[in-house]
Symmetry: C2
Subunit: 413 residues, 2 copies
Amino acid sequence: MRQTQLFTRTKKEAPRDEVSRNAELLIRAGFVHKEMAGVYSFLPLGLRVLNKVIGIIREEMNVIDGQEISMTALQEKELWQKTDRWDDKNVDVWFKTALKNGTELGLGWTHEEPLTRLLTQHISSYRDLPVLVYQFQTKFRNETRAKSGIMRMREFLMKDLYSFARTQGEHEKIYASVRAAYKKIFERVGLGERTYPTFASGGAFSKYSEEFQTISDAGEDLIYIDEASGQALNKEVLNDAVLADLGLKRENLVEKKAVEVGNIFTLGTKFSEPLGLIFKDEEGGAQSVVMGCYGIGPGRVMGTIAEALSDEAGLVWPESVAPFRVHLLSLGADEKALEIYSALTAAGIETLYDDRDVSAGEKFAESDLIGIPYRVVIGKRSLESGKAEIKKRTSSDIETVSLEEIVRYFEKL
Amino acid sequence: MRQTQLFTRTKKEAPRDEVSRNAELLIRAGFVHKEMAGVYSFLPLGLRVLNKVIGIIREEMNVIDGQEISMTALQEKELWQKTDRWDDKNVDVWFKTALKNGTELGLGWTHEEPLTRLLTQHISSYRDLPVLVYQFQTKFRNETRAKSGIMRMREFLMKDLYSFARTQGEHEKIYASVRAAYKKIFERVGLGERTYPTFASGGAFSKYSEEFQTISDAGEDLIYIDEASGQALNKEVLNDAVLADLGLKRENLVEKKAVEVGNIFTLGTKFSEPLGLIFKDEEGGAQSVVMGCYGIGPGRVMGTIAEALSDEAGLVWPESVAPFRVHLLSLGADEKALEIYSALTAAGIETLYDDRDVSAGEKFAESDLIGIPYRVVIGKRSLESGKAEIKKRTSSDIETVSLEEIVRYFEKL
């Protein structure tokens, strides 16, 4: 894309009320726009990153035979009353609204209830199971505090996967496959090394749930890591009984601030029982389906990358989720740069071409702020020497590559 | 995809409260699920169709240099008060909700206000224009009646494009390019022949707006078509003055019921003025940006296809938006059918493989209901003759093709 065509402009400063580092950088670089506290629109560069995160998650959900659907935000009171999750006393994040005739509705903050009800129309026999269903869908959560930028939004996209199994044993196999998929997702988006599966409180149907926690000073959670085993646990379950259970010693644990980028839950029959999701087993007996749920917020992942990998100069995107792979800067060599831009684009190498009429200093600073993995500079010197300067965002080394070789350089990488 | 893996089941009957043909068929075939009146979830087959419609629209929006973003549902009262569109007396489709501290919020039913405000941060000079920005985003409309299935939903995805120009002349060029893109979109999704650009009432800044109306008995609009010129007008503007203006004669007009599948509006400075979207022209003078807006609901397009192209046996999808291209039925020849399925899939030919253990009659009936363009039957006879039977959903002719030639048959089409 040519930068003169991109409608967003970078800014020297973020809105004064913006206290989070991720939102400050993302707003300044033109990736997101703050509509109000906890509510952000995604602009062209930001939407490209978000869609790449979504694409990676979708691939991994399909690998484990997840079937994609899309449910609705509007929710019926009667349905949620059946599981005791309608009343604001029990669930404190509802946004409520109403039809013209006064019928109260809620805006979905999760989707166990509607999906369980939906599946009662499609599952009746052991032959219909197991099933994994997921969606990328907008959740609404009426957060009291929303000061973590796009890491805690009042309206946000969530990938929520739900699993439906015949037995606890079958559930555990699915749970393990989702767990492995999640590890792969966080590796692929560039957070693998700093992300730990972390024991947390479980709820009614299992001793623990697991969170995927990414080490970051912007995190709202405290976790304790046993570096030797790679195990971690959330502060909320840090006590002697749990430590004994997990075979961990308090003196080996390191405390870190972390962001919960994903979570996986065993639900048992907590939802299938009240909502009547029942199947006939091989002997003809009626059984409640054994469920699990598994969440990742693509926006939160993007925000966490912005927090964890950025530096003083700006954002730093891993190649897998970067809005473009190459940032091509023309410093007074527009004709040659346009030629290179066309060649890169024709070769399928995603390139943002800074063809604007601004100073070299401004181009360099904005390129660092935007954080595309490779910067290629074509200046007047290039025309004489026949060479371009290539620099990785994460390195200060500059490589010179002949103009004819630039496309091949990126094809070979 | 193997049909034994697909979690949805077809149904003999739709819910009793479902009065629209599109929803009845789509629910029975397992494409959508009704959550409540006017609120539908999209299941795997339905989401595949919806995504293909979205893909076609996106391609055509990108051709005319549209830049994709994604805005939010939650809307601030103060913003909409500036254009007098907050009060329920002026806008009767709002869903309203509130933050915990009591701050009233609305759920976006369109996005002129937030996008215009957003652009004040990025547009300041004539050099920043023109700009075309679009999104696929969920709209909420508190409809009193919602009885048209997925053609009129209370929560629905909309592609909304907004254009920002320096002058009325520049706006008109953009308007014409969007109009041409819309014609192409409706052709590509299979509705071209029955869809008419239709004059409708314009609003404050232009004499007319244009709707794209698709002829269908399920339509809520009445339009009048002049077959000779291909022009049409909505009943709401049918009067002698308008007829004279458009050079049409009442006696040449044919009345038809139609569905509004798209609309394009000239907005002038209706939003840029109150919201301060101003640019400096070449002489340094301050000018309000000239705007247009252009909508298509992908779900409504899908519903209209279901209404307009279906027959008594079920849905009929054009290839461009079909959930799969080929429906492969095994009638007691699973080994050979699996082989063909693998070959088709490997060749990139999207195939739904009915590998279920049900009767031939059931498979045929369900295949017609689901409406995939090509049905390929591998039965016991195929094993003897070495041939499969291929039938188009829209024809009763059956072609026999040798098993070795099936992949080539579809590659050549």
